[in-house]
């Protein structure tokens, strides 16, 4: 157990070299031993360790995807990090940075804020019957099985498994529960999925980070974009600042076009060639 904790606490230095599968097997083995002797406290502690490992691995995996410009895959990993942190939170102090959990939480949110996804597809489902995954008993509203969702029993988190449901439809929402449900368009000719999103902001950050554990901060503000970027906008067109006014009555008379601006501060020094401002639509 102590060796596992040590490996988890050294994630900054060992995240590329450690054998996560082997660590997980150790955790599962020790957890089963604990369950066999009825040690629920140890089993829960090992569950927490498994969660921490998963969170760390998914965060590193997300970063690697961004480095390879596999942005949607990175997004899905960040969602997994967010979910697993939420499951862990009632059972472990996630503000303690021994295992970089507070860092991971903060930077996951920051990375997510840089993504261009604004609309998501949210499923609507009528859940007619569920089972408890701990005792496999059908969920009864008046005769509960005693296992509470989110609590840890025998080293496993209690959830409800939907065994009978009806799919009602899909809604387009801005704030979904399932962040993976990003709509992509299809090429009408080839039928292939096209990634139509602009990843300039998230790419800007990931290019300049040498490690997932190099810290950075982000502040969303506004900045003046040079008019030269908007030569294609006519005087009577709507102003690119999205004020709904005509360009000639709005930013055309200012030093530039006032647009959303993302100010990123990297805690590790950057080489001069990377200290740039980038513009995007």
């Amino acid at each position: 157990m102590e060796q596992i904790k040590k490996l988890l606490s050294e994630v900054i230095s060992n995240n590329d070299s450690r054998d996560a599968e082997k660590i997980l097997r150790s955790i599962e083995s020790l957890k089963q031993d604990a369950v066999n002797i009825g040690d629920q406290v140890l089993a829960k502690e090992l569950w927490c360790s498994g969660q921490i490992l998963l969170i760390q691995e998914k965060f590193v995996e997300a970063f690697k995807h961004l480095k390879k410009m596999e942005f949607y895959k990175g997004w899905c990993c960040f969602e997994r990090v967010e979910l697993e942190l939420h499951f862990l939170e009632p059972h472990f102090n996630t503000e303690d940075d021994t295992y970089m959990l507070a860092f991971i939480k903060k930077h996951t949110e920051q990375f997510q804020s840089l993504f261009p996804y604004k609309i998501f597809m949210s499923s609507e489902i009528l859940e007619k019957a569920k089972e408890c995954n701990i005792c496999n008993q059908r969920v009864s509203i008046r005769k509960p099985c005693g296992h509470k969702v989110g609590d840890i029993y025998n080293g496993e988190m209690c959830i409800r498994v939907v065994t009978d449901c009806e799919f009602l439809g899909v809604a387009m929402v801005e704030n979904p529960v399932n962040r993976y449900s990003v709509p992509f368009i299809k090429d009408p000719v080839t039928g292939e999925t096209v990634d139509q999103y602009n990843y300039t902001a998230v790419s800007y950050a990931s290019v300049r980070l040498a490690s997932p554990f190099h810290g950075w901060d982000v502040e969303w503000t506004k900045a003046w974009h040079p008019h030269s970027r908007y030569k294609h906008i006519g005087r009577n067109d709507k102003c690119p600042c999205e004020s709904e006014k005509k360009y000639k009555h709005c930013c055309m008379n200012e030093v530039g076009v006032l647009r959303p601006h993302c100010d990123i501060t990297f805690l590790e020094p950057l080489p001069m060639e990377l200290m740039t401002i980038e513009y995007t639509n």
Partner: protein, 185 residues
Amino acid sequence: MTKADDRGFLIVEEANETIETWINKPFISDETRNQLIDSNFLIVPREGFRDIEYPVFPVGTEELFGYLRENATDALVPDICIDEQEYKELALHSDLYIIGSFIMEHLAAPLAVSLLDAYIKNKLGSKEEKASVNVEITVVQEGNKKATRIHYQGPAKEFQRTVIPLLQENQSSEVGPMEDGNGTD
């Protein structure tokens, strides 16, 4: 009275139903009705959602009911207005937390709202800071003389402090905006 801003809305209006209205619904069996008679705080389903013919509860109601039963005091007797075999949950999967609809006697209301607030905090954890909730409560005055429905949708962290003052006011009085100066009719 309706107040709304970009963070949500607050509706306070007269209601016609009482606890008896709900326990006498056609989808409640005699056996369940006998059990519900002693309750002063009912979780009630949503009827007529789209073309669904049966009453449904928001996803997570099972957990909520368990929490209420475990943490209720002698002054609060929670129950759920449905037969066991008819219980179904509706998962809409937006990150708006639909806590549910409730009907309660006015003396139980402050305690019930506080308990609902505690559940929200417990369930959301650190997400409470940014989360929005939707809660509908109907408060029945003594002797079933009148009822007031309060429908809140807004920041989770402001639910209790928005709703508790409304419980202490006459339903016909003007109430303040969701946030000072930002409400609109």
